[in-house]
Symmetry: C2
Subunit: 473 residues, 2 copies
């Protein structure tokens, strides 16, 4: 029993990964008397989804290494955790969620005082014959493990059962998986209908550098090709056919993006946005009283473009889970949580075949779409001082708003140690720093880390010139 009402207050969390378990843990710490019930469809709680490609590739040995906390550990913190349990619908008037136990098939209603929907996203499956039947997805840890087991299988003759693979989708996960496959000795084709990899993250000129790295590493790129059919036999894929050719494929991995799992929220009457994700305010409240949402299932405010996006990243899910927890605790007493999720600028990094990639804010495609008048600069430089051994190469691109000089976005692709440098530009984007300001900031310098003008400041100087802004250093 806890709280001022005299009856036990119950938080029901649907979804046992980053957003959900961060919220549950925060509430546990803040209120030892709260009744916390977690419902998770899969076999794992709190794991690193971003680590799955490294599990597939073998750089991470054991799936358990990716699990931050097990259901048992949460139970030891006096939470009720129902694994392999799906939430089918919610009734906010009755304050219940209708559940199904996926093992027994039993259904029941679970009451709540506060409901947090942290249902995440599901892989998007293009409507292609054979894809649903023969395609692997690697969205959950269970699926990652299944793929890893499949790749570990040996053929009767003794060699690996999987020799050829097709990866569908040239985004972060698709590239990382394709690299992991080649690293394991599998022949991999990477198929994307777009004419470039990472088309949501990078402009074509920047993506070209990544494509070169992938090709050099041995990934066969099939860009601008539409997947037409996946052929298989005996329950296994044998080949894929695109608009341009047919490729052998003992395994087909689908990484064509994800869509928010908004059905539960929709059943509760929560407003969805244009992206299909749940609309929330800065405290992660949905449009329905007593219902919060956080993580991959929600829309976030894009602070640069001024629109809403569904961004699926663990880093946001963690923060949003905390913000939701703080607010739902405050709401028990009619208050509002002190924390506000400010929004996103679209920062992301990855590593592809020893090339580091960082991006933040708007790329040219985004800027055109958002109708922002901008200038862009792109150039090559070194990751260390030019006279140092292994100076490396960094391809730099930056965008700034025409009239104001506000930094709109940045893309870095480098053979050196550059990905985390994107965070500096991310802060500029988020705080509205202009290129005029940026060029005079006190950033660090030493020969092992670059030239005397930091590469981001070189970009800011170029843009200041190109836009005719003052002062021009």
């Amino acid at each position: 029993m806890s709280g001022s009402t005299g009856k036990t207050w119950r938080l029901l969390v649907v979804g046992g990964d980053a957003a959900g378990m961060t919220a549950a843990s925060h509430v546990r710490r803040a209120d030892p008397g709260a009744d916390i019930v977690v419902v998770e469809r899969g076999n794992h709680t709190s794991y690193s989804m971003c680590g799955i490609p490294y599990l597939v590739g073998g750089e991470v040995d054991d799936a358990d290494a990716l699990v931050v906390r097990t259901p048992e550990e949460f139970r030891e913190q006096s939470m009720t955790v129902h694994m392999r349990t799906e939430a089918l619908s919610a009734d906010p008037a009755a304050r219940t969620v209708h559940l199904r136990d996926l093992e027994s098939g039993e259904e029941r209603d679970e009451p709540y005082d506060a409901l947090l929907i942290a249902t995440g996203a599901h892989p998007f499956t293009p409507d292609v014959e054979g894809l649903e039947t023969f395609g692997h997805v690697v969205h959950t840890l269970d699926e990652g493990e299944a793929l890893r087991r499949h790749l570990d299988e040996r053929a009767v003759a003794g060699g690996p059962a999987v020799r050829d693979a097709a990866v569908v989708g040239g985004g972060y996960i698709g590239m990382e998986i394709a690299e992991a496959l080649v690293r394991r000795g599998v022949d991999a084709v990477l198929i994307d209908r777009a004419a470039q990899v990472m088309n949501k993250a990078l402009d074509p000129d920047m993506a070209a550098h990544v494509e070169r790295a992938l090709r050099d590493f041995g990934v066969k790129l099939r860009l601008g090709e539409d997947l037409k059919v996946v052929t298989g036999s005996g329950g296994r894929a044998t080949e894929v056919t695109t608009s341009a050719g047919t490729y052998p494929a003992d395994v087909v991995i689908l990484a064509a993006g994800s869509r928010p799992n908004a059905a539960l929220a929709e059943s509760a009457g929560c407003a969805l946005g244009g992206t299909g994700a749940v609309v929330v305010d800065a405290q992660m409240r949905t449009s329905v009283e007593g219902v919060w949402a956080a993580g991959d299932v929600v829309e976030s405010r894009d602070l640069v473009a001024g629109l809403r996006r569904n961004v699926q990243l663990g880093t946001h899910a963690n923060k949003q889970g905390k913000v939701a927890a703080i607010d739902l605790l405050a709401a028990r007493h009619g208050g509002r949580g002190a924390a506000a999720f400010p929004g996103v600028v679209g920062t992301a990094v990855t590593k592809v075949c020893d090339w580091e990639i960082g991006r933040t804010g708007l790329h040219e495609g985004d800027a055109r779409e958002a109708g922002v008048a901008y200038a862009a600069t792109a150039f090559d430089t070194t990751a260390r001082a030019g006279y140092m051994a292994d100076a490396g190469v960094v391809h730099v691109k930056m965008l700034a708003e025409e009239r104001t000089g506000r930094v709109l976005g940045c893309q870095l692709v480098g053979s050196g140690n550059v990905a985390k440098r994107i965070d500096v530009a991310a802060v500029w984007c988020q705080l509205g720093v202009t290129v005029q300001q940026a060029q005079l900031l006190d950033l660090s310098y030493a020969p092992p880390f670059g030239g005397v003008w930091d590469l981001l400041q070189v970009a800011a100087r170029k843009l200041t010139h190109d836009l005719g802004l003052s002062p021009q250093l």
Copy 2:
């Protein structure tokens, strides 16, 4: 002939390195008719002073690689460049500088319309018997070359002439030189009277990590020891004696910090600050009309502590040279330059024995000195996700102001790829970002680059908690 006055306008630049040549080049581009005269005491223009330890260590093969532009290249841009020429005094009433040709000994007066004093700094030599006679300094490229030649010498018996070295001063340059010596097979002791290395840059707890790295690499640390005497024979050092012992030393390298070369500015009547450096405004004007100063010779505003410091770094010198050039061109027509040097926050990075070190803002010593009420947090984390191979270790320390939560400073020491991450904290310090704000910024995440909470944001969260500020994520 140029300008509205009908007579040729002459810029006289004293000092041919970063600040001076950046300014000269900018004026050259902006006004092809200007008469530009550069006076430099040494044999080189525009070189990377920070690259000298890498020249000594052999990672950079040739001193020429460190030269960005030679005197000849500047002459080709219609500048008059007098090498090996010293400026002894300035007479702002007559608008002349009194020069001495260091080769011929001849002296003369050189007239100017605008004077830029970019005379840099000189190594500080403690008053220790034998040090002046037997100590090497490595402040200029000439001196770096001389040391390199000395180390390259062979003994009559065939082995290296230099087997034992003593480095005096445990700052950036001292550590880098000591490492370079050990890399070359020389036995090196590093002597500092302070009980720690990098006492101006790092707190003792953070310096301890660097000291361990140096010791593991083979540098013998003699901290808390006062140098008493340098003994030599035949014009060469043989040993050094400190308050604690006597150490063999075929070569003694002095890296005990530098002092601004403010004598010329002083002769012109320019006000000097408490640091002994030249006081300038945001346009790099000195207190004397027609005289500007930039680079290692000036004081800069410390934006975090609110006081003035003499910070000697090429990155500031370059920016200040530009700002001065913009202003002295504007001043020809009675105007003021559009550029303003905003000040510094004390950002610096270095690499010591594969450990990366970054710092910005105030350390605890600085904060106490500045009388700022602060909280500090220090913890260890990994450079990559904990489950990745070679996750590395990063020691993190951050300071925030008590009442406001403003980020005051940050120190990072890591075995991974961390130094340039300091720039994010540097921007926070410079823009007055609070720990409450910082924890919710959209920074990048991927397993090869850290955990789902960026390490700087972990620090910001801890400080928010420790200071009892809101919201506490």
